[in-house]
Symmetry: C2
Subunit: 274 residues, 2 copies
């Protein structure tokens, strides 16, 4: 495995070859490793980037405390058979004078987009930059960040990015909690609460799949989340392409929630079979 710590090192490691690419912010867990395994199924020449992207964190968010276990990440990447890891320094990604951004589309307006102003602009900008630098044929993302999937898909459609996107279902702990690099922030008590939330989400999804209208089910879900000790930012049944909320599920609809438990924001979503 080659670890490229600059664009020049990366270019020489790639030698013009396109790859199956997994962009990450590091702190790799089973969810990321599932993305890597999918990438390796697509192409044995697999690339992974580790970059905690300052442009997608708000001024009051957790950029400085975001976990950066870099040696462990490199060991995991190597053991999964990653060919090249790109580990750029922030000053190479955002040099002095940097000021051109991607302004994300309509799917970025609601939900995380309204609660985290600038977040998806930062996500789109760094993803487009990484796409341009690595020039992969395929990029693999996790459904865990549902709206991110929608916004990046829309960016690639709208800006004619010639890269195939592949999305993988969320990997979960044994109690169903979605794997996330931020789960390490949870205290033992909070961890128990967090583990109950996905069960509530799944029940709500089942009720919608069984024919109940989403508005009533989501209202119950929000109440159940509060009763379980979480503080919901939002929950909704949505179209995963447009991110518009739906009353009645369609073929690919997903139910999603964002809940604060202590100081941690937990994102989760799952498909609804109508």
């Amino acid at each position: 495995m080659i670890v490229a710590r600059s664009r020049a090192e990366l270019r020489s490691a790639l030698g013009g070859r396109r790859s199956a690419f997994v962009p990450t912010m590091g702190a790799l867990h089973e969810g990321h490793l599932a993305l890597v395994r999918r990438a390796r199924e697509i192409d044995s020449f697999t690339t992974l980037s580790i970059f905690v992207n300052p442009a997608q964190f708000g001024p009051k968010e957790d950029l400085s405390r975001y976990p950066r276990p870099i040696e462990r990440d490199l060991d995991l990447a190597e053991s999964e058979g990653v060919s090249v890891v790109y580990l750029p320094p922030a000053e190479e990604v955002y040099p002095e004078g940097f000021s051109t951004y991607v302004s994300p589309g309509s799917s970025a307006v609601e939900w995380e987009g309204s609660l985290r102003p600038g977040h998806f602009q930062g996500v789109c900008t760094v993803v487009l930059k990484l796409f341009n630098i690595l020039n992969p044929h395929t990029a693999v993302f996790g459904w865990k960040d549902l709206q991110q999937c929608a916004v990046i898909s829309q960016m690639c459609r709208d800006l004619d990015v010639d890269i195939r996107l592949d999305f993988l279902e969320t990997v979960r702990e044994s109690d169903g909690l979605a794997r996330s690099s931020r789960n390490v922030y949870l205290s033992p008590d909070e961890r128990i609460i967090a583990g109950r939330l996905n069960v509530l989400l799944r029940s709500a999804g089942d009720r919608i799949a069984a024919g109940e209208r989403s508005a009533a089910v989501v209202a119950d879900l929000l109440e159940a989340i509060r009763a379980a000790g979480g503080t919901p930012d939002y929950a909704a049944l949505v179209d995963p392409v447009t991110m518009k909320s739906l009353d009645i599920p369609q073929k690919s609809s997903r139910i999603m929630m964002v809940v604060r438990v202590g100081s941690v924001r937990l994102l989760d979503n799952m498909p609804i079979a109508p």
Copy 2:
């Protein structure tokens, strides 16, 4: 010469080959043909796009009356040895739901950027899309649109676009008027005024090159433009990378002006040898 009227036709015409590319809005004149000749020097496989980009016109601007002499354009392109012309329909470039844009950098803030809100967002977005669709190794632009050169350069730097940019000096009429597709709008009297303006610009440049401070020279230039019958929007000595105005010229500085003559906005600029 292949004329590709859709992305599918273009893809089949390119067959994965990279090219030297000249993006245009059509109404081709000697300035464009000089860009094509430069492109052909770089690579005999040369592509040209013709697309009057609605996203870079303001609501009160001349989108509907912009000249579209398409058969003549295709004849000119063919006679210059262009390999592939891409002539996309607007609904393929901006389909229903299109909403992801490039938000241009600091070089887009002043001058045209402040007088034509959204203009450079439209320019950057369509140029990035064309770059992604055509995947050229080189793109050739004219210095005539000075700030456009700066903004596109910054976009390519900031977003890591792997395309070499080449800029060519402005082609002029016999009296020095910069060639422009919009010159056809000038009445005979306006055409005479337009022809005098570049002489004023050149004299101002010479005075700055001889050591005079730009502020005083530009003030005189603006007055001389008005005396000649033009209405200046602005004039300045600028750094062509940052588009910041300068008091004393540096190695690559250029003097620029934008002047309205009748209903036509004329852009011109030229280098200053300090």
